[in-house]
C-alpha cells in the first residue's frame, strides 16, 4: 500500500508532540489558576490576620470560614452543572430559600425525622429542578427567563412555608453538616470532588459538557439534548436544595429570604472557579474552590480594616482583577504551549 507509506511520511514531518503533562496543564488551566488564587488569598489572609492579631488563624477561624462557605460551595455546584450546558440557573437562591424554610419547619431532633426530611427536601429540589429543565429543554425557553420566573415562584413558596423567620434546626443536624468543633465539613468538599471526578466520566457528565460546547455537534453525536438539559437542571435543583440545608444547619434556624443572595454569589464562584459562562468548559472542583476564594476575599477585606463603605467596591475590584488575571494568564499559557 504505497499511499499508506506516504501518509506515514507526512506524519513524520511533524514529530513534535507535547507531553501528557503539558496537555494537562493547558487543558486544566482554569482549575490550576483557581488553586493558585486560593493559595494566594489564604496566604494574604494569614499575613493580614497576623499583622492585626499577632497570631495565626486557629481552629475557630478555619472552622467558621469553612462552615460559612459550605452553602455557597453547594450553590456553586448547582450553578456549575447548568452553566456547563451553556445555561444559567437564577433560581438557585429561591430553591435555597425553599429548602431552608422547609427544613426549619420540619426538622425535629429524632434521627428518623432528620433523615426523612432531608431526603424529602432533596427530592423536592430535584423535582423543581426538573420543572426548570422541562421548561428550558422541551419548552425551548431562555434559561434566564425560565429560572427568573421560577426564582420568584420558589421565593413565594418559601414565604408561604415560613412567613416569618423562625423555626429551629436541631443541634445534632448542625453538628452533622457544619460541626463547630473542627472543619469536618471539608470532608463534604472532598467527597463532592471525588463524586464530580466520577460524574465527569459518566455518559451524563460527558453529555453535559458536550451540549454546552456545541449543542448541534453534540446532537450529531447522538446525544439527547433534551434529556441532558433536563438532567442538568434536575441535578442543579437537588444541589441547590442541599445548599439550603447547609444554610439552615449553619444558621440553626430558618429564614425564607436568606438564600436570595446566593444566586449571584454562586455565579461569581463559578466564574472564579474557571468555569466558562459560555458552557462546555470547567470543573465543579474549580467552582467549589471559587466559593472559598470569595470567602477569603471577605476575610481579607475585614482584617485590612478598609472603611466599610468602600468594602463592596474593593470586593468588586478584587473579583474583576482575579477574573481578568486568570483569563490573561490562561490565554498566555495556552498560547505559549
Amino acid at each position: 500500500m504505497p499511499q499508506y507509506k506516504a501518509m506515514e511520511h507526512t506524519a513524520l514531518a511533524q514529530p513534535f508532540r507535547r507531553s501528557a503533562a503539558a496537555h494537562a496543564l493547558g487543558q486544566n488551566i482554569g482549575l490550576i489558576l483557581v488553586c493558585i488564587l486560593l493559595i494566594a488569598s489564604i496566604l494574604a489572609y494569614c499575613g493580614i490576620y497576623y499583622a492585626a492579631q499577632e497570631r495565626l488563624p486557629g481552629g475557630f477561624e478555619i472552622t467558621s470560614t469553612v462552615n460559612n462557605t459550605m452553602p455557597l460551595v453547594l450553590a456553586a455546584l448547582a450553578q456549575t452543572v447548568v452553566v456547563l450546558t451553556r445555561g444559567l440557573d437564577l433560581s438557585v437562591g429561591g430553591m435555597m430559600d425553599l429548602s431552608n424554610a422547609i427544613a426549619a419547619v420540619t426538622l425535629s431532633a429524632s434521627l428518623g425525622s432528620m433523615v426523612f426530611w432531608s431526603v424529602a427536601i432533596l427530592a423536592l429540589g430535584a423535582l423543581l429542578g426538573l420543572l426548570n429543565g422541562v421548561l428550558v429543554a422541551i419548552g425551548r425557553l431562555q434559561p434566564i427567563l425560565v429560572t427568573l420566573a421560577t426564582l420568584s415562584i420558589f421565593q413565594g413558596l418559601a414565604i408561604r412555608v415560613l412567613p416569618q423567620p423562625g423555626g429551629a434546626v436541631p443541634e445534632a443536624y448542625t453538628a452533622a453538616l457544619v460541626s463547630t468543633k473542627a472543619p469536618y465539613a471539608l470532608l463534604y468538599v472532598i467527597a463532592f470532588g471525588v463524586l464530580w471526578s466520577a460524574f465527569r466520566r459518566t455518559r451524563l457528565g460527558v453529555s453535559i459538557l458536550a451540549v454546552g460546547n456545541d449543542a448541534q455537534a453534540a446532537r450529531a453525536h447522538g446525544i439527547d439534548l433534551i434529556r441532558t438539559r433536563i438532567a442538568a437542571y434536575t441535578l442543579s435543583g437537588m444541589l441547590a436544595a442541599a445548599a439550603g440545608l447547609f444554610l439552615a444547619a449553619n444558621a440553626t434556624a430558618g429564614d425564607a429570604t436568606t438564600g436570595n443572595g446566593y444566586t449571584l454569589s454562586s455565579i461569581v464562584a463559578v466564574v472564579l472557579g474557571g468555569v466558562s459562562l459560555f458552557g462546555g468548559r470547567g470543573s465543579a472542583i474549580g467552582a467549589m474552590l471559587g466559593a472559598f476564594v470569595s470567602s477569603m476575599i471577605v476575610n481579607i477585606l475585614f482584617f485590612s480594616h478598609i472603611d466599610p463603605l468602600y468594602q463592596a467596591f474593593y470586593e468588586g475590584l478584587f473579583l474583576v482583577l482575579a477574573v481578568v488575571l486568570a483569563e490573561a494568564v490562561g490565554r498566555l499559557v495556552r498560547k505559549a504551549s
Partner: protein
Amino acid sequence: MTAKTAIGDMPTPAVEASNVRKAFGGVVALDGANFSAASGEVHALVGENGAGKSTLIKIIGGRLHADAGEVRIAGRKVVLSGPDAAHRLGAWTVFQELTLLTWMTVAENLFLGHEIRNSLGLIARGKLFSKAEQVLADVGIFHIDPRALVEDISLAERQLIEIVRAITQNPQILLLDEPTSSLVERETVWLFEQIRRLCKNGTSVVFTSHRWNEIRTIADRITVFRNGKDVGTFTELGEEEAVTLMTGTRVDVFFPPLPQAPQSQPALSVRELSGPRIKSVSFDLYKGEVLGMGGLAGHGHREVFFSLFGAEPHSAERIEMSGKPVRIRNPRGAVRQRIALVPEDRKTEGLLLPLSVRNNLTLTILRQLSRFGLVRVGEERRLAQTLVERLKIRARDLFVAVGALSGGNQQKVLLGRWLLAASDVLLLYDVTRGVDVATKHEIYELVLGLAREGHGILFYSSDAEELAHLCHRVLVMREGRIAAVLSQPGITAEQIVAAAMREHATV
C-alpha cells in the same frame, strides 16, 4: 455517454430514499428526491450549491426529519429519531459542517457516545488515549495527538478525525458530505484508500464533492441533483454533461485564460516573516498578480495568511504596502491598510451565522455606507443585491440568516464581503472550498477580474489543479519555508505536489 437510470437486477439497496420532501420555511430543499445506493459501492451525489445534497444526507443520517417520503435501510422502512438511531442501524455520517466538540480532546471526540469503560462503569481516561492512538495508527494517521484539544488542531486534522470516527465503526452505510473540501491531495488519497477498503467489505459509501476529478476517481455511480430533485443516475458521466445536468444550462468548466502579466510595482513586499510555524518567508506580490501558495497542509500557509492579516503573532524584518512600510498588529489594522482575508472556516472565522445575508455582506464597509453614523439602508441593500446576483448566492432573500444557507453559498457570502471592501491586497485562503463547479468558475473569473483591476491577490488552495491554472506564480511551502517558486507558463499540478514532497525523497 452511457446513462443507466434503471437499477433493474440489483439486490436490495443498502439505503434508499424515495420521494423525499423537505422544506425550511419557504425554502424547498428537497422536492420529491429519490436516491439509492447499493452495498459495496461508492455512490457520488453531485449538484450545485443548495441543490439539497446535504439535506438528503442529514435525513439519512438521522439529523433531520423528512416532511414526506420514506427512507429504507437494508430494505426496511425506518423513521430515525436522531443520529444515534441511524448509528444503531449502521449508518454513520461525516457532516459537511464539522461536528467535533472543540473543548474536548481528540481522543474524547473519537469515542464520544461509545466510550471505553472501566470495571466501575466509568469512562476509563487512562486507556482512552492509548486506545485512540491505536485507532489512529490502525488507519495510518500518526501526526495527530489524541491528547490535543480539537480547538488546537487544524481544520484538515479535524476533518480527518471526523472521518476516522465514522470509519472505525464498521459502518454498513457511510455518508461523507464533502469530506475532502479541506483536505490536500495526499489526505484525499488516504481517504480514498480507506473508502475502497470499506467497500471491499460491503459498506455502501455515499460521497459528495465539488471536485470532478475526485468524483471520477472514486465513484462507481453518480446521482445528479438539481433544485432538490434527482435528475439521473449514471455509471459514467463526463464533467461537462454533469455540469449541464446540474445547472440546466451549458457552462464553461475550463479555467479561464490568465490575464496579462502583472505590473512591475509590488502591492505587498514581505521580508523575513517569522512566527511560531513560519521561518523567514520573503516574497513580493505585484499589483495585478495572482500569487499562488501551495504545499501540504500544516506547513505554514495558514500562519502566513493570518500573520499578514494581523491575526497571528509574528515578526518581520519589513512589510511594505505599495512601497510604504507598515506594521500589522491586528485585523483592524490590516483592514485599515486595505488588506482583506477570506478565511477557510466560515463557521468560526468569518461569518456571523445568525445575521442576515445583507448584514454579513456589508459588515466591513458599514463606515463607508454610513452617513452621520447611520447606515444608508437603501444603498446597503442595493450593494448587497448586486453581489448576490454577481456571485449567484442562492438565498430566499437578503434577510435570511446566513446560517440557513447551504455550505457553498455561505462561502460565497464570505467572499462577497471582502469583494465589497475593495482592498489592495486580498488574501484568499481556500475560497473555492465547497463551492460547486459553476460557481467556482465564476469565482475564478472574479479573481482574475480583480487582478486585472490591479489588486494583488495571494491565493492558497488545497486544490493543486486550481493553483496551476489560476496563478502567475506559485510559492510552494514546506516546513514553514518557501521551498520552491514556480512560474508560468507551464506550471502543472504534478509539479506543485512534487515540490511539496521533495524533501521526503531526501530524508
